[in-house]
């Protein structure tokens, strides 16, 4: 049982990046034009080098990756964008061949690289179950046998004969995941599927995956940015960085390492101004109650978030949003208009503003947290400008080592730090 089911030995994948003058697809015309301009190059070095290409650059998406995975393991793969996670999965499924190295697989592989692959919008839910199942490698009889289960899991039985183009995005994803979840491969590769769907369905998917591994002895490779899910589901974790494995071990160890790598060295975040944005956060910093700049917060202390933002057009009913999250799980969400409802009937004039808000970080136990700031028009749907860099990562650290802090150590359960009063009256 402990023999490895996946052995990855020195896998490397090289891509050749062609820097083109124009862009777009290479066409015969370009090659012919290149041949006329530089006829000898065409003959001498092969036709692909002529034409629009200026320079060629080699890029190793993966290099020297060794991983050995046992049957029944649930392995999380984490790493920043571009670390090579998806390339690794693509090689494992056989979509693209490696440039060097070899992989030995002890069973059938199926992938959920992206849910809904091969769904056809014009076809009904029923038809798409069969089509998608076939594309993922299921036999028709197998699909027919599991059909009811798939429909029930997805909860779309009423819409089975409706073309999926009329489905809500939630229904679409549920159906797609449900088909894939009922595959019975020896090795299942999952990439980022859980980023979609509502929370309830995400939980259901995680539960399904857990059930699948427990009962079926199936091996799962799970690529995700959701550290909470990795922590909860995986028995092992691998971290990739620039195409190589930098850390392997228990999920807790690897996630810690990952978060510490993510942590910014700069204590004050200054964002490059982009004049195309109507509103932009340009500066974020954390201070303690005395106004000193902080990067780590001592457990039990509150911190003040100060930020500067610029509005370049008048914005009616401007509201800022703040979200504190840990491992992808939102813990606290607040809107600036909650405290100042009058803001909703005002128009924010062009200018530079400074805002500060005291964060209840004294409630948080040891660990890495993330703050995302969004801004938008609160009257309509609040368009939270997440992902444009207005993100600050901070750590709550425990510098004391006395016994009273013991329950709040990082590896223990719970998210909050709050001393409770335990009254003990003795035996009556």
């Amino acid at each position: 049982m402990t023999s490895p089911i996946i052995e990855v030995n020195g896998i490397g994948k090289r891509y050749t990046l062609a820097h083109q003058k124009g862009g777009g697809y290479l066409t015969l015309r370009d090659i012919l034009a290149g041949a006329i301009r530089k006829p000898f190059e065409l003959i001498g070095r092969g036709n692909q080098r002529a034409g629009r290409f200026e320079t060629k650059e080699e890029f190793w998406a993966l290099r020297g990756v060794d991983i050995s995975i046992n049957r029944g393991d649930v392995v999380g793969i984490i790493g920043a964008n571009g670390a090579g996670k998806s390339t690794l999965l693509k090689i494992l499924t056989g979509i693209t061949p490696p440039t060097e190295g070899e992989i030995i697989l002890g069973g059938r592989v199926a992938s959920l690289l992206e849910v809904g692959t091969g769904f056809h919008p014009e076809l009904s839910g029923r038809d798409n179950i069969f089509l998608n199942g076939a594309i993922l490698g299921m036999a028709r009889r197998e699909i027919a046998r599991k059909f009811d289960e798939i429909v029930e899991f997805a909860g779309v039985s009423r819409f089975l004969d409706t073309p999926v183009k009329y489905y809500s995005s939630g229904m679409y994803v549920r159906l797609a995941f449900s088909v894939a979840a009922h595959l019975e491969p020896d090795i299942l590769l999952v990439d980022e599927v859980l980023a979609v769907g509502d929370v309830e369905f995400q939980k259901k998917c995680l539960g399904k995956m857990e059930e699948v591994t427990r009962t079926g002895g199936r091996t799962i490779l799970f690529v995700s940015h959701n550290m909470g899910a990795i922590q909860e589901l995986c028995t092992r974790c691998v971290m990739l960085e620039s195409g190589t494995v930098v850390k392997q071990g228990t999920p807790a160890e690897v996630i810690d390492y990952y978060m510490s790598r993510l942590k910014r060295e700069v204590k004050e975040l200054i964002l490059e101004e982009d004049s195309s944005l109507a509103i932009q956060i340009v500066k974020m910093r954390l201070e303690d109650e005395q106004g000193r700049l902080l990067s780590d917060i001592d457990m039990g202390n509150d911190a003040v978030l100060k930020m500067d933002y610029v509005t370049r057009h008048p914005i009616p009913s401007l509201s800022l949003s703040l979200e504190i999250s840990k491992d992808g799980v939102p813990l606290l969400y607040s809107l600036s208009s909650d405290a100042d409802e009058a803001a909703l009937s005002r128009t924010a004039q062009i200018g530079r503003y400074c805002t500060s808000v005291t964060l209840p970080t004294s409630l948080l136990k040891e660990g890495s947290y993330r703050i995302d700031i969004g801004a938008g028009d609160a009257a309509g749907e609040l368009k939270v400008a997440r992902g444009d860099g207005a993100t600050l990562i901070f750590s709550v650290i425990n510098t004391r080592s006395d016994l009273t802090q013991k329950s709040y150590r990082r590896e223990r359960k719970g998210l909050l730090y709050k001393h409770l009063v335990w009254e003990n009256k003795g035996a009556q």
């Binding site: 499924t93 056989g94 076809l123 594309i135 073309p163």
Partner: protein
């Protein structure tokens, strides 16, 4: 749980191991063809009638212009049935070719996301066209009854061979062009034009008998042999030229093999450059 061991290595040489794999994916072939058929006539008012309407309308137009106005000879058979026999096979060939050429590019999302034998995509499009061919062939049967033709026994034997030759020739070309199309999107623009030129180099609207000393040029095209043999065996317009038919069979088989070899050689780059 299977104990089969799969080894993934860099692909450096030509490998045909997945030709046998195609068999295990035969149901996918069926589902892809079924999808294309089902989707094609969605949200259309007359649905499957389009499969009948297209060859029928083309036949009527050609009959009016070439048969009635230009008086193109038709080897002694009525022009409508003469041209329809040609069109039946020609449209099977040309539509298969153009759809197969776009099979990879048109299915880009699944090519980059899921592994399966890539050959399944072009093959399934040709299978779809086979269904259209069958529908259009019903019209031919109707016309034969109307004009009072009884096919020779030889015709019934030759007919499956003609379908196979057309299938091989269009799939062979289609595989080659589909693979080229992944890298050079020129195919999409050049192909319709190329197909149109090719139609005039095939005796679809005129009999091969008028080509005299250029006949050998036309005979290089396997569709010439197919259409000639179809008219000979179904309409009895001329004796069946079995040498020409054999040549068409050989050329189309060679095209199929060449198509598969080229396709397999460049296949490993598909997901990276599509």
């Amino acid at each position: 749980m299977s104990n089969s061991v799969i080894v993934i290595r860099p692909i450096k040489t030509l490998s045909f191991s997945d030709l046998s794999e195609l068999w295990t994916f035969r149901e996918l072939l069926y589902f892809l063809a079924w999808r294309d058929l089902k989707v094609r006539y969605k949200q259309t008012a007359i649905g499957v009638l389009w499969a009948v309407f297209q060859p029928l309308a083309t036949m009527l137009v050609f009959t009016l212009f070439f048969g009635t106005l230009l008086k193109v000879p038709s080897d002694g058979t009525p022009y409508p049935i003469f041209v329809y026999t040609g069109l039946l096979f020609w449209q099977f060939f040309s539509m298969s070719l153009s759809d197969a050429s776009n099979a990879l590019v048109g299915n880009q999302p699944i090519v980059t996301k899921v592994y399966f034998p890539r050959l399944a995509l072009p093959i399934s499009t040709v299978l779809t066209k086979l269904v259209d061919f069958a529908v259009a062939a019903v019209i031919l049967v109707g016309m034969m009854i109307y004009y009072g033709y009884t096919p020779h026994v030889s015709g019934l034997i030759v007919f499956p061979a003609l379908v196979a030759i057309t299938f091989f020739a269009s799939l062979g070309c289609g595989l080659f062009l589909a693979a080229v199309n992944v890298k050079y999107r020129d195919v999409r623009y050049a192909l319709p034009f190329f197909i149109q030129i090719l139609m005039y180099l095939t005796p679809v609207i005129y009999p091969a008998s008028i080509t005299h000393r250029f006949a050998w040029v036309l005979n290089l095209n396997p569709m010439t042999g197919v259409i000639q043999a179809a008219r000979a065996s179904l309409l009895g317009s001329a004796p069946l030229d079995s040498a020409l038919l054999a040549e068409a069979g050989l050329i189309s088989t060679a095209m199929l093999i060449a198509g598969i070899v080229y396709f397999k050689r460049v296949e490993r780059h598909f997901a990276d450059i599509i």
